[in-house]
Symmetry: D4
Subunit: 166 residues, 8 copies
């Protein structure tokens, strides 16, 4: 089991309604046997707790933060204000504007405080990006990424050849 | 002089490049003889200082916060997380997207933590809204608002009659 | 019961189809025991009645107007033209453009006539903002806001700890 | 001279900064010898005066209103609330969003109260549309429109043949 | 029965899939006893037939064209190229972009060839605008419009008073 | 000299203000020694002349149409209605909306009448696409395209190596 | 049967989830008896295979590529980098932004490498455009296009006359 | 001097016109004494060279790719297709749409192939993100980041205190 202890990745979201999308990040990390912790900590509703958590997580050795947020999505940027670890932002498609609001609220960070933004609802890619970051200092993990890439490739080729069989 | 001591309104911005727009709010407050304080305190670059300031300002009796921010504009929302005073957000038109990013990043706040948003670069209106808020418990100030409204009216009528004279 | 008499907040909308969203504002006000009046008064269909109402409500002591509108949403701005009380605008997501039209039609007010805009369909936050405005001259109400904020906080922490129990 | 007396078209705008664009409508009307009146009457700053004017203009026999407005452009819609005459709305490109705000705030009118919207800064076309409306009951005016159309045609053909001479 | 013979208004659309929306215009015209003709004539699929029709309709005395179109909506503009009668364009919300494409393709007409644009799917308002145009030379029709406006007003007031009874 | 006689490509635009952008297409065609004709023929101002021209051009053997247009850009779609030859549409960035209007008005064509759309102001690419179309039945022209591609490649490599020399 | 051998058109997509839309292109080609090949070859997941395929297809005589892609749609542009044959791009409406992302990612190609872009989900038109390209050197195919155009025309006229019968 | 040999970061762009923005990334890396290589290698114009380079760079030990691109910005995504190293995408504000096209073309990557996207023209933040990634396995570099963060903080506080002195 890969969650919670000595975790390298922290997955955060502001509300439990974000869980279905953010759990996809957890699943990818599990598949790569990366330890993670998944938390509900809103930048607007529990701001003190959030910054406490960021500091503690960093001290415990977390290497990457993944933060999903919808609407005026401040969570990834607020985390980035409190850490020098890479923060990956996942804009969520909640609300009437379907994520164009959260995308801009996450990606357009001012100079000095970057957030690595992925696609709207792209929590799978957030996990893969976190793994790429960890893998840059971990050749074994990098091999797993190469295997994963190969599997994706095979999957496409399989579907392609099936299409042309039928 | 109306700035700084026993101030009722705090004007905040994340960068000194926002001063030309945010100073317009200060001018309106001065016109109404409302004491204010104007500060540069970024949500991303000095987050600890910012929340300290919000608490202190509240204790000193500030009644309304005005916060201007561009791009992924988090400043108003982060202030709102730390206070129950009304927070007025001014989206700034800095950057390639000309303020549609900051507008969405300010106005689309999640349930429970409102930010009173005005137009892009609308810092004058932010000041007027702050005065309306103060005036709701201050009949003398409300009279000043009525006079201001009357003056605006006269100004329009004067321009209209000039147009039809020429 | 907190509706209608000696009301401090007026909730207006242009059409009864806006009721499901605007009632959420009423519920929050009820929760805070704030007296309010809720009315259907379109800026385009009953303009005379609307301005009459705004004047009367102001004379009866209303402190804040909340106005919800969709499409080319003029209701909040038209109210603001007739009062110096703070007007809170709620853009509604009705129609093909899902509220980006009403957001811009409400928030982009010209200099001199502010409307405090909240998120698309954000009528809950409109109510909270109204309460914050009332609370700026009412320490007891402000305490209720602090309790409300604390409850939100506890709710997030409870959900967070549940997530990590399971 | 075609302005002001027994005018058939009223050209309105909210601010004298809109004059350069709105004067183009006046020039087209002058070219067609249509009597018009041009006025600065803001829906937000002089709302009482505006509705008074609309009623008076209608009684004096005005047949069409042309209203130019920028930002949260309410002027055309507010006029439409007070008259059954056709109202032509001209979205102006003032402000950071270059007119997409005023376009949506004008064109997306709710059922029952139409505004005939033309292009952003399209005040020339607003005048032509007003003339088409007047011409639908005036064969002589319609002939002038046909001549105008023919002149436009000739102008294009002249430029086309010049291009291919050079 | 008010359709087809000696019609004053022509309602056109490019495809029979547009009928459900465009029929709402027909219903409003019927309610006002205005004779109209409703036709399916695409600018792209039957361009010759379309321009033939526009000429014939004009000769038969049609006073206003209403044209509904989705996507790259050219129908209203193409009609406007062939007539001096007012053309009312109705952007339809068909397709992935929900009408923002058809709105821009209709409203942003170049100088010289106006199209009177109404809201996305706003075919009711298109009919009312057509009636306003006809009424500008027809006092009896204008009275009907005043009655219609009054009925709308009463309807809002009825709903408002019901809300406050319950 | 490659213009005008026995031309294979027709370049059209609605206004002489579009010439600076559309001339770039002519230059590319000249570079490839493709005969073309360049014309100013508006879909809205000279609709009869335009369709006459399309028919004549087709009979004279034109193989591809290139049409540039801004705002509610109907020119490419109207040409496509009258021919079975490929029509390449160039959205122009004229007007307040900087070409997002013309892009949507060109690319979102309904089923049955395609327009091959290139980037906003992308008239160079329109010419290259026209050449690719001609080259699909002309191996010598295809070789020229390969040479052109090679030259682009060399240009990038030259700039890259210069950058790393300095 | 018109698929696969000595094919003139290659239809590509990045994922089997794009098949329902892209199959509509295949159906149109079948209707015109054009040989095609349909393949699943992602620019991001099987990049080597994709470029191999483009080269092979070109050598086997393919005349036009049709490529459908959603989100950050790179497939058409990447194909265009490896061939001088015309590449037709079909933006797909997958994802939260409903195709405005894929439209821009396909149509806004830089100078030198055009992609002929059609409407969002416009794979039918992509096929027709491919046929128009092939027909520019094939008079028999061009006749089929004229017949197809005629049939579309008849279909519209039939629906129009049915509407006016009922 | 920190460029070129045994470089850890590769900065790529498609055109030399992107240099002024992308050089800002190089300057930040130089400030942190991170070795980098800066190259002009277009995904569309030199696709073979680009993928060769990605492979070589990876073998030479590059840890992070930074890729800037405008318009239909494919460069970061194409690099990501060929490597498991983190790829940071910088959308550039070139062209009529001011970077909203390149933002969407970079950030909306499909599942399996992430690109870490920063703000439009945010090449400074791209460099900082690259350093954060390198620092996750390098405590000394992390200290430099903390110092950098502290300096930013001091700079804001200095400007703030200057503002309140004056």
């Amino acid at each position: 089991m890969s969650a919670n202890k000595n975790f390298q990745v922290a997955i955060l979201m502001g509300s439990d309604s974000d869980l279905p999308v953010m759990n996809q990040a957890a699943e990818v990390l599990t598949e790569f046997e990366i330890k993670y912790q998944i938390r509900i900590l809103s930048a607007h509703r529990v701001p003190h707790k959030l910054q406490e958590y960021v500091k503690e997580a960093e001290e415990k050795g977390v290497k990457v933060f993944i933060a999903g947020a919808g609407l005026a999505a401040h969570l990834p940027g607020v985390i980035a204000a409190f850490t020098t670890r890479p923060v990956i932002g996942v804009p969520l498609a909640s609300g009437a504007l379907k994520g164009i609001d959260s995308l801009l609220a996450i990606v357009q960070m001012p100079s000095g405080v970057p957030v690595a933004t992925v696609a709207i609802d792209g929590s799978k890619n957030a996990a893969l990006l976190a793994i790429q970051i960890l893998a840059s200092a971990n050749p074994i993990l990098n091999k797993k990424l190469l295997t994963y890439k190969k599997k994706m490739e095979d999957e496409v080729l399989r579907k392609d050849s099936e299409l042309n069989k039928s």
